[in-house]
Amino acid sequence: MGKLKKIASDGLIFSNPTLRLVLGTCPTLALTTAASNGIGMGLAVTFVLICSNVLISLLKNVIPNTVRIPAFILIIATFVTVVKLVMDKFLPDLYSSLGVYLPLIVVNCIILGRAESFAFKNPVFDSALDGLFMGLGFTGAMTLMGAVREILSNGSIFDISIWNANSFSIGFFGSSAGAFLTYGLFIAIFNYVVNKIQKKLAKKEAK
């Protein structure tokens, strides 16, 4: 139970890939113009993370150290192609809005990083959980950022209108510069809160 709690809290909060480790910034900046894009990309990455972590963990004793990186890339690329095929078939609108960033999941640092630092050294179940929580951490950050940017720039969330965007909207938040500003603010606020939590936990442990 303690291990599960640690993996979950690491993935979601303390080692959140987007807001703590600042990994996968390219899709984070480009795709958070809408909350639906964020959740779509996040779930695609989560699926690839879980599947590649499981397979890499299963094959960790078979894959020689010398070819581990090409082997990881091959495995990750296979699952990304699976996601691509499924999305094109069943979610064509999301597939077209994610565009080039979907195949680029292959070179996403989060996935390769977790394969190298976690799945290649840990058992299958733990690796699957790590993939799940890291993916959910990424999805949460992407969706939250997408929601904030969509509300401010379009007056809507998940394409549902909250107010008339003609009467009030800050188009800047829909632009690339707005993405950097939002991302910076998110990192600052998240780290401030997490550092406070960590200090509290450290005090508790000291007592």
Binding site: L59, I63, T66, P70, T78, T81, D88, P92
Partner: protein, 177 residues
């Protein structure tokens, strides 16, 4: 030599395993042209009962004078007498192209445009509202007129407007006989 045997065997096994899985899945999840057309029809006529009626034979239509601007891939007659044209517009940013489904009514006016795909660095064609600005444009308008309607026109928007323009010209030739 022995040290290379295991890595090569492992890599080949992974390639075979992944390749096999992808071969099966791409067969199962293949999106047919008919499915893509129906998706475009549903997007354009959401809520309306419109169906594909016939594929227009393009072998008798001479579109060579428009080859610089775009290429017609297919043309379909729909159950509501509209035409649906799959056309590719050229001269996008960095020689990119934009392929669109253009629905044109019997009066030779654009009913709606849906993007199918794009190549090259034509991401700017995804400017919101770009395709909606073509609605109501007519086959009698020149290519420049159609391009000019796009506010803040970019090279990519140029490819999209070329795609719409050649589609309008094709339907005008088809209807005109």
């Amino acid at each position: 030599m022995k040290q290379y045997v295991k890595p090569i065997t492992v890599m080949l096994s992974i390639i075979l395993l992944c390749g096999g899985l992808l071969a099966i899945l791409s067969d199962l999840l293949f999106v047919t042209q008919e499915e893509r057309i129906n998706r475009a029809i549903n997007k354009i006529y959401s809520g309306e009962d419109v169906k594909l009626e016939q594929t227009i034979d393009l072998s008798t239509v001479d579109m060579t004078e428009f080859n610089d601007l775009g290429v017609i891939k297919a043309c379909y007659k729909l159950s509501n007498d509209d035409y649906l044209v799959l056309s590719t517009g050229k001269k996008g940013y960095s020689n990119g192209t934009v392929t669109t489904y253009v629905a044109i009514d019997i009066n030779l006016k654009v009913r709606n445009v849906v993007e199918d795909s794009y190549t090259g660095q034509t991401l700017m064609a995804k400017l919101s509202g770009l395709y909606q600005s073509f609605i109501g444009k007519s086959a009698t308008q020149s290519q420049e007129d159609i391009s000019e309607i796009v506010t803040g026109a970019t090279k990519s928007a140029n490819a999209a407007s070329n795609s719409v323009y050649v589609a309008l010209q094709l339907v005008s030739l088809v209807i005109g006989g």
